[in-house]
């Protein structure tokens, strides 16, 4: 592979992230294979490929993101092809190709939250965790703090429009967020390494 991957090589080029230290490294174990097979078994014969998405979710939950090594394995598990899996992985912004931080912030910027201050909140949290808001782009939607503790991305509707601005940290939803509340939350998370 050349130094800067070309558009094809980029499909499976690793994107290093300091968040990796907080997640186990992707490794194929008999238990993992069994888990994938159980997902595949949910679909009728000949439709094994339907399990691509469930397996992707399972991998992301366990390992934080979809690393390049996992894509051919996922394809193998459900009789698909690596390019098909890569197509899905690169399609959904919710599927991460880069490891998030220990605490991953999803800041809603759909209209209701944006009007309630979501945009400013996004910039505020970015600054707080040391991420340049301008570095969040279509190609690279996720920013991560240098120590790998925090990562952030803007998302579309978190389905709680009446109580915006909404922020989701890992799996917990925080409504009616303000910069002050966000500061408090971050300080809390820094002290308590337990999940929010």
């Amino acid at each position: 592979m050349s130094e800067t991957p070309n558009a094809i090589e980029a499909v499976s080029a690793p994107i290093p992230s300091p968040g990796e230290q907080y997640f186990p490294k992707f490794k194929v174990t008999p238990a993992l294979v069994k888990e994938a097979q159980a997902l595949v078994a949910q679909y009728p014969e000949g439709k094994e490929q339907s399990a691509v998405l469930p397996i992707i979710h399972m991998i992301q939950e366990k390992f934080g993101y979809i690393c390049p090594e996992s894509m051919p394995w996922i394809a193998e598990m459900c009789k698909s092809t690596p390019i098909h899996v890569a197509g899905i992985v690169t399609f959904y912004p919710g599927i991460h190709r880069k490891c998030p931080g220990k605490f991953h912030f999803r800041v809603c910027r759909t209209i209701a939250c944006a009007m309630g201050g979501g945009e400013e909140l996004l910039a505020h949290i970015c600054k707080k965790i040391g991420v340049d808001p301008a570095s969040l782009t279509d190609e690279e939607p996720m920013g991560i703090s240098e120590d790998g503790m925090f990562s952030i991305e803007a998302v579309e509707c978190l389905a709680n429009c009446g109580f915006g601005p909404n922020v989701m940290v890992n799996d917990a939803l925080h409504q009616e967020m303000t910069p002050a509340k966000a500061d408090k939350l971050i300080t809390f998370l820094k002290k308590n390494t337990i999940n929010a």
Partner: protein, 571 residues
């Protein structure tokens, strides 16, 4: 009887296209129906041999149906027997929808042209517009449709999305992601026809791009078909790119000669140079496709190894020197007269056309020889289009010469034990693996006469070499493994002084004293064909004209072409 009942009786439906009523079989796609009556529908993603994607929206047309009846109401028919059509305010895609009774379609209306203009504006919003350096220019659907239906100017002032350019996606194909209109024809072709899902779409929105998974490649022997079906210049052939602007090329319909399938092709030439080969649709032979190796098997036509004059060796051990045709034919006649027929063997080729084989038979008869055969040539079949028979005309050789290569070993032994002293090699390199002669075998002969289009070990060992032509330079017919007779057309003139092989054999026979008018007075391969039509039962009634560009099934061989069988089974 109302038109709808009359149509239904034939399993058809009445459809009004641009104001005129037509009848189509039920289930016909709107796009196919319109195209068949000359109302052109532009399409990017739709390809009749692939599943329908309906993603490009280029084929939008205005459509209408009779109004839905209120409960209890009865349909009203006008004096022609049709219901009034109420037109829908939105356009529909013509590729994914089928015709229905009393449907109306407008391909020339304001709505249709606005829809087309809009789709094109979107498609061009991120297109690099690099037509001046694009190989597809001149045969690009995007270029054509933009000229026909586009706006002429564009309103898009934002900066365009950057994607990968000049990417090697396989050993024979290059990809430019920015030119791609994301029709996914290439993806569907690889998945549905070849059965190798190596191409896919990655990314989202304007970042969508065709790719293969790193570490895998588009390296199938059918990869170059994606270059043909790609409607734009996204997939280009590494072999052909930047070689020639397509509008300078002349295409000649003919057939492939690399194996027994007889894939229908077009040869693209400018002046006397062949630039590329592309498949030509024939649903009985190769559908719309061809293998890469056959597509690239044209380099020898314009290669320096081509023989352009007769060559003779007057003294043993001396160099061959060029000669004229008249002198050489005279010399060959003299030499052949001296050979005892029992000591002469002739090796012909199942790469010859029927017309050449016919003249070979006449020559053998004139010489009074019985030791004659062809070189069999087999390989692995690929379950698509490549036949195990690597000779293009084994069926013809069997019909005309009655030979299948079984006597080749006897001839080889004859040469080795000295019972054969004189050898005539027609269109075959005897030192090839399939023919199985060694350089020593050839060196031990008293006389070796050879007809060949290119220099090889046999021509180098020969006492006399007569320059023939390649398949691109001749007219003739061949019969494929499935028993279908097909035409070869001349795309370029013979190189230098080379002469059509059938004519070389005819001249030698004549010079040897043949007096059969059917042989010596034959003016053309077409006339040879007519003669054969009288002599060989399966060829009865055949003429050059009635074989046509599609060929004609004339013999039941029991052999089928796997890809075609699959395609028929799908219907």
């Amino acid at each position: 009887m109302l038109p709808k009942d009359a149509a239904a009786a034939e399993g058809k439906v009445n459809v009004q296209i641009n104001g005129k009523w037509y009848r189509f079989p039920k289930g016909t796609r709107i796009a196919d129906a319109c195209n068949s009556v000359g109302a052109h529908v532009p399409c990017f993603c739709y390809h009749p041999k692939l599943s329908v994607a309906g993603s490009c929206r280029m084929c939008l047309v205005e459509q209408g149906m009779p109004p839905r009846l209120a409960p209890g109401a009865t349909p009203q028919y006008n004096e022609d027997g049709y219901q009034t059509i109420s037109w829908m305010p939105r356009a529909v895609i013509a590729c994914a929808n089928t015709v229905a009774e009393n449907m109306g379609i407008r391909t020339d209306s304001k709505l249709t042209s606005e829809a087309r203009r809009g789709v094109l504006e979107f498609l061009l919003s991120n297109h690099p517009l690099d037509c001046p350096i694009c190989d597809q220019a001149g045969e690009c659907k995007l270029q054509e449709y933009t000229a026909d239906y586009g706006r002429g100017t564009h309103r898009f002032t934002e900066s365009k999305t950057k994607k990968g350019k000049n990417l090697s996606i396989g050993p024979r194909v290059n990809l430019d992601q920015e030119r791609c209109v994301l029709c996914r024809r290439c993806v569907r072709f690889m998945k549905e026809i070849v059965g190798e899902e190596v191409l896919g779409v990655v990314g989202r929105g304007t970042h969508n791009a065709i790719a293969c998974y790193p570490g895998t490649e588009l390296d199938s022997n059918y990869s170059m078909n994606v270059v043909d079906i790609c409607p734009v210049g996204a997939m280009t052939s590494k072999d052909f790119r930047f070689k020639m602007r397509v509008w300078f090329l002349k295409s000649t319909p003919t057939i492939d000669v690399t194996n027994g399938t007889g894939t229908n092709i077009n040869i693209w030439t400018r002046e006397q140079q062949v630039y590329r080969i592309t498949p030509r649709q024939n649903d009985e032979v190769n559908s719309c496709w061809m293998p890469d190796d056959a597509r690239l098997a044209y380099k020898y036509i314009n290669a320096p190894a081509r023989l352009t004059t007769p060559l003779v060796r007057t003294d043993a051990g001396a160099d061959q020197r060029p000669s004229t045709w008249d002198a050489t034919i005279g010399l060959v006649t003299e030499q052949l007269h001296k050979c005892a027929p029992t000591e002469v063997a002739m090796i012909a080729s199942a790469r010859m056309t029927n017309e050449e084989l016919y003249m070979v038979r006449a020559l053998a008869k004139q010489l009074g020889i019985t030791k004659l055969d062809i070189v069999p040539r087999t390989g692995e079949a690929d379950d698509l289009l490549v036949s195990a028979d690597r000779n293009p005309n084994s069926t013809g050789a069997k019909l005309i010469l009655g030979k299948e290569g079984k006597g080749l070993r006897t001839i080889r032994n004859g040469v080795r034990n000295g019972s054969i002293r004189f050898l005539i090699a027609l269109g075959e390199d005897l030192t090839s693996e399939e023919a199985g002669f060694t350089a020593e075998d050839l060196a031990g002969l008293d006389y070796l006469l050879c007809v060949s289009h290119s220099e090889n070990a046999t021509t180098k060992a020969a006492d006399v070499v007569l320059p023939g032509v390649t398949f691109a330079e001749k007219y003739g017919t061949m019969i494929n493994v499935a028993g279908r007779i097909q035409r070869l057309n001349k795309a370029i003139e013979p190189m230098g002084e080379a002469r059509s092989d059938w004519d070389i054999y005819r001249s030698i026979s004549q010079s040897l004293g043949c007096d059969c008018v059917n042989v010596i007075a034959c003016p053309s391969p077409m006339a040879v064909l007519e003669q054969m039509a009288l002599e060989f039962e399966p060829m009865h009634g055949l003429t050059w004209g009635n074989i046509g560009n599609e060929g004609k099934a004339i013999i039941e061989t029991g052999v089928t072409i796997p890809l075609i069988e699959r395609e028929k089974a799908k219907k």
